[in-house]
Each structure stands twice: as structure tokens, then as C-alpha cells.
Symmetry: C2
Amino acid sequence: MKKQSARQLLLDATFEEVYTYGYAATSVDRILKKASVPKGSMYHYFGSKKALVLAMVEERLFPKMDEFFHFEKHKGCTVYESFRNTFAAMSRNRPLIEHGCPLYRLMVELSPVDKDFDKLLIEKYNQMHKGIAMLLKQGIDEKEFDESLDYLAFAAFMLSSVWGILSLSPSLSSPKVFISQSRFLLDELNRYRIY
Amino acid sequence: MKKQSARQLLLDATFEEVYTYGYAATSVDRILKKASVPKGSMYHYFGSKKALVLAMVEERLFPKMDEFFHFEKHKGCTVYESFRNTFAAMSRNRPLIEHGCPLYRLMVELSPVDKDFDKLLIEKYNQMHKGIAMLLKQGIDEKEFDESLDYLAFAAFMLSSVWGILSLSPSLSSPKVFISQSRFLLDELNRYRIY
DNA sequence: TTAGTATTAGACTTTTTAGTCTAGTGAAAG
DNA sequence: CTTTCACTAGACTAAAAAGTCTAATACTAA
């Protein structure tokens, strides 16, 4: 399928540019140059800069999120251990540690000023929140965690905290810092474990 | 001193525009219109858009931060209670809950791409981190908290988490959500209390 | 091969951007 | 009163922005 090649190149370049510079500071011309695609092609596939970036969010950013954040019970692990493993994997993910969470960065920039972006980004937020919450709930159901754990609230807290840590200035961010800070989340979760 | 009035109006308008739209999406012309100040005056006081915003950060945003985040031991309170009070006060601060932390939002947008902004914002980060850490340290010294509390790491975690919570999409943010999520930070701190 | 559609190409337009320039105004000091 | 200088005023410029347009080209199916 060579037919989609220009479209795919555009989405790839758009992800990189927006991840680096943010939405407002990204220019269509720079995307075209990076993708080596002429303007006519871009406006053939996408109606506007905004439409291009919205498509990029769905087709590049969301899948990338599923790669970064993997909240499922790992084989032969408790729920607690699964979170521990996931955090450890995140700390080893260079782009994530260095550039922060692409979804959250876009949310910080655009959610307050654009309801189309807000709606789309919140869809993914809800999905992730639900994923984490269900995993915590599973831990409660399987008597790993105490019933007093407010799994919905804690899932939201985990998301906020992790995004907060990841999206600090690159000068403040490193695998070690991520491990050190995320440990407090694990410790807090550990409070609810039943021995 | 009427002499400084145009300058002050510019800084006020710049804070509002940048807090709302971010740096890249803020235009000098809109600032001038909002402040009702002609262009000549602006370029008399400030050499460029960037210089204007850097001045705004120092003269408006930083003082605002000291207002929002008040990490000192409150009179007649334990350190734990002081944090609890500060969080409660933050949850009642409308602009903070609705628009997020202005420093963090700017850090997310600019730290990765502009070292002048990064340097300035990190200065404030370090100051706040130190303030929180010293307060925790005081709690350890006064036997309120166990020595095992890594006060530097926990102070960093608190900052990241609070910023993460505050700067979520406005659709996800509310006083209740802030209280519910920040409670986990207090619970975690509570683990280290000596009774 | 050919007709028809999808894609490419990039010059062009319009709007907006940051920033410049020069003439003027007003207050304060001599 | 007058000189001086900080400040005002906004028209102007140049660059960059998003988006349009038309003609050429490459596929694809008949």
C-alpha cells in the first residue's frame, strides 16, 4: 500500500514536531519539509493544520501511549508487582523520561483553549484511568488490597502524579528521579496490601 | 509613580494572556490591546516579546506562586497540619484549580525548547523544592516524622504530584478532585509520623 | 490503450506575526 | 520659559503563518 505513504510520513513528522515544540509553535511548513511532502498532498489528506494534528493524536499519539503505559496484570505477578514492573519499564524509556508524556503535554497546552482537542484527549484519559482503576479493583477482589482503597481516586492520583513527574523540565528529569519519585506511589499502594 | 504605569499594565496583561494561551499562542498585539498601551511603549520598556515574558515571569508569575504555594509551618500547627491547611487553601483557590499552575504550564511548554526560560523557571522550582524539603526536615528534627523519610525526594514528589493534579484538563479539575487526590499525599506523609 | 480518479507540485494569496521608525507629547529641571 | 528626555503614538516593514489554486502526473480499472 504505497498509496498511504505521504499520509503516514505526514503523521510521523507531525508527531515529532508537536512532541518537541507543542501545537502552537509547530508550523505546517516545517512538517512538510521534515516529511518531504508537498503542501498539496497535505491539504489533500487533511483539511487543516488542526485536522492533521487531531489525526496524528489518534493514529500516532494514542498508540504510543499504549506502548508507554501498560497497565495490565503481568503473568505470575501480583497487581502491586505489575505496577512496579510498569514503572521500572517507564524509567528505562528514554524519550518518555526526556520529553515527558506527549498526551499530557498536549492536554496542558490545548485542553483549556480548544474543546475538540480537550474532548479527544479526555477520551484517552478516561480509558487509561479506567484501566488503572480496574487493575486496582482486581487487586481488591483478589484480596491483595484492602477494601478501604478508593481505587477510582487512587487511579486518578497515579495518573496525575506520573504525568507530573514525567513532564517536569528535562533538566530535572532522569531515570533515577523517576524511580525515586514513583516509589512513593508504590509505597502508598503498599499501605493497602493485605499480608 | 505614574511613570511605570504602562509597564505595569503590560506585565498584567502579559500574565493573563500567557496564563490562558501559553507563550507561543500569545501575540504582542493582543497584549497591547488588552493593556491599552501602544507598541512604542512596549518596545521602549522591553526589547522583545521574550524579554517581556521573562520580566512578567519574575515580576508577576513568581509572586503569584508565593501566593498559591505557602509552605511554612503554620502557627500552633504541626508540619503535617500545615501541609493539610495549605492544600485546603489551594483547593479553594479558583484560578489555580481552573487554570492550573502557571509556572508548571510554562515549564511544560518552554523548558524543553528555551534554555533562558528553563533556567529561570528551574530557579523557582529549586526554591520551592527547598522550602518544602526544609519544612519536612523540620518535622524530622522535631520528632514529628521518622528519620526514614527521604525529605528531599518526598518534597520533589509532592511538587510533581501537585502540579500534575492542578494542570490536568479543566474538565477534569475541581476543588473536590484536588482534595481527593492530594489526600493521598497527606496519607503518604502520615506514614512517617511518630505518635 | 485509455478514461477517470487520486495524488503531487509549488507558486500564490491573505493574514498575522514580531519588530522598526520617526514624529510628537508632556512633565520636570534649569 | 525653555530645554531636555522619557515616553507615546501608530503607521510601516519584513518574515512567516495557514491555506488556496491550477496544472501536471501517476495510478487503476475497463
